[in-house]
């Protein structure tokens, strides 16, 4: 290594020291404390965002279950159990919300896709 190169190396090393030396760094404690706080914020944000989708998926699952039950001989038995609601309102509820299932599926697939393909 010639003199010019080693001088350039020393300048570079000094620059690194000046730019990122201990005085320009966080204390490990402050760093770790904020890491925990930031992750908690991220988790909370994620939970808030996931709630409507989770709810939609759960509701859609219920609708799907009801729709499947309607195709089975169990339907009459179930109706007896759920007689308090009456058969018509339940069917109405099932059909009106059947749209939730594809919507929930699309939302979940799109979110997963955006995560994986990014």
């Amino acid at each position: 290594m010639n003199e010019q190169e080693s001088q350039s190396d020393r300048k570079l090393e000094r620059l690194i020291r000046m730019s990122c030396g201990p005085e320009a760094r966080l204390s490990p404690l402050a760093r770790e404390q904020f890491r925990l706080r930031l992750f908690a914020v991220l988790r909370e944000k994620r939970r808030r965002e996931d709630f409507p989708v989770g709810f939609l998926a759960l509701f859609s699952g219920l609708v799907l279950l009801l729709a499947a039950m309607s195709l089975l001989p169990l339907w009459d038995k179930s109706m007896q159990l759920l007689h308090g609601f009456g058969s018509n309102p339940l069917e109405l509820l099932a059909f009106a919300n059947l749209a939730c299932l594809p919507i929930a599926c699309i939302v979940i697939i799109l979110r997963r896709k955006s995560c994986l393909s990014a």
Partner: protein, 192 residues
């Protein structure tokens, strides 16, 4: 318009989705660099730098889903940091500096033999540039350079830290310095 920085975009998406490993990687990779960037922007005012740094990362976590990968993730984070620093300066110019002037018994207290504002600005800009250049390097290059020259570890210690032999570490440091030099001279011809 496609994403140029797919690795950064993938990391941002994983962090947005609450992936703990991705978050750790994001934090390990950027927390110190962003702090260093802010620290030099505010000319070494440590307490202010810490406050701005926290605001920056909190804002970044909220805005991460809007990152499109058109620039490096670090550049994007620096954009947020610049806004936060500008807010800090506005607040400071609005209240802080005048309050200090009013409370001073002797205006000459503000005049010292330290560097002139332009010199401070140049020096800070150069340090910010070094941090930006370091952020562009591969992880192993950056870790080795920081351990060796910022933390003052010996080559043996760096070798232990990154799990390589002494010879391999020496070679890595040499390549890392060349990469940093290239990253720096990409922006400015002279870095001293």
């Amino acid at each position: 318009m496609g994403a140029e920085y797919k690795g950064d975009l993938r990391l941002a998406a994983r962090v947005s989705h609450g992936d703990a490993d991705a978050f750790d990687k994001f934090y390990t990779h950027y927390a110190d660099l962003v702090f260093g960037f802010i620290f030099h922007q505010v000319n070494g005012a440590r307490t202010d730098a810490e406050e701005i740094w926290q605001d920056t990362l909190l804002a970044a976590i909220q805005k991460l889903p809007s990152y499109q990968g058109q620039s490096r993730l670090f550049t994007w984070l620096c954009g947020i940091a610049r806004h936060k620093v500008a807010d800090y300066r506005r607040r400071r110019n609005g209240t802080g500096s005048s309050a200090i002037m009013e409370s001073a018994a002797d205006p000459l207290e503000f005049v010292d033999s330290g560097p002139l504002p332009d010199e401070i600005l140049d020096r800070s800009a150069l340090r910010v540039r070094v941090i930006e250049a370091l952020a562009e390097l591969a992880d192993d290059y950056r870790s080795a350079l920081l351990a060796r020259y910022a933390d003052g570890c010996s080559v043996e210690e760096v070798a232990r830290l990154i799990g390589r032999s002494y010879k391999a570490t020496e070679s890595l440091l040499s390549r890392a310095k060349a990469a940093l030099r290239a990253a720096l001279t990409g922006g400015t011809e002279e870095f001293e």
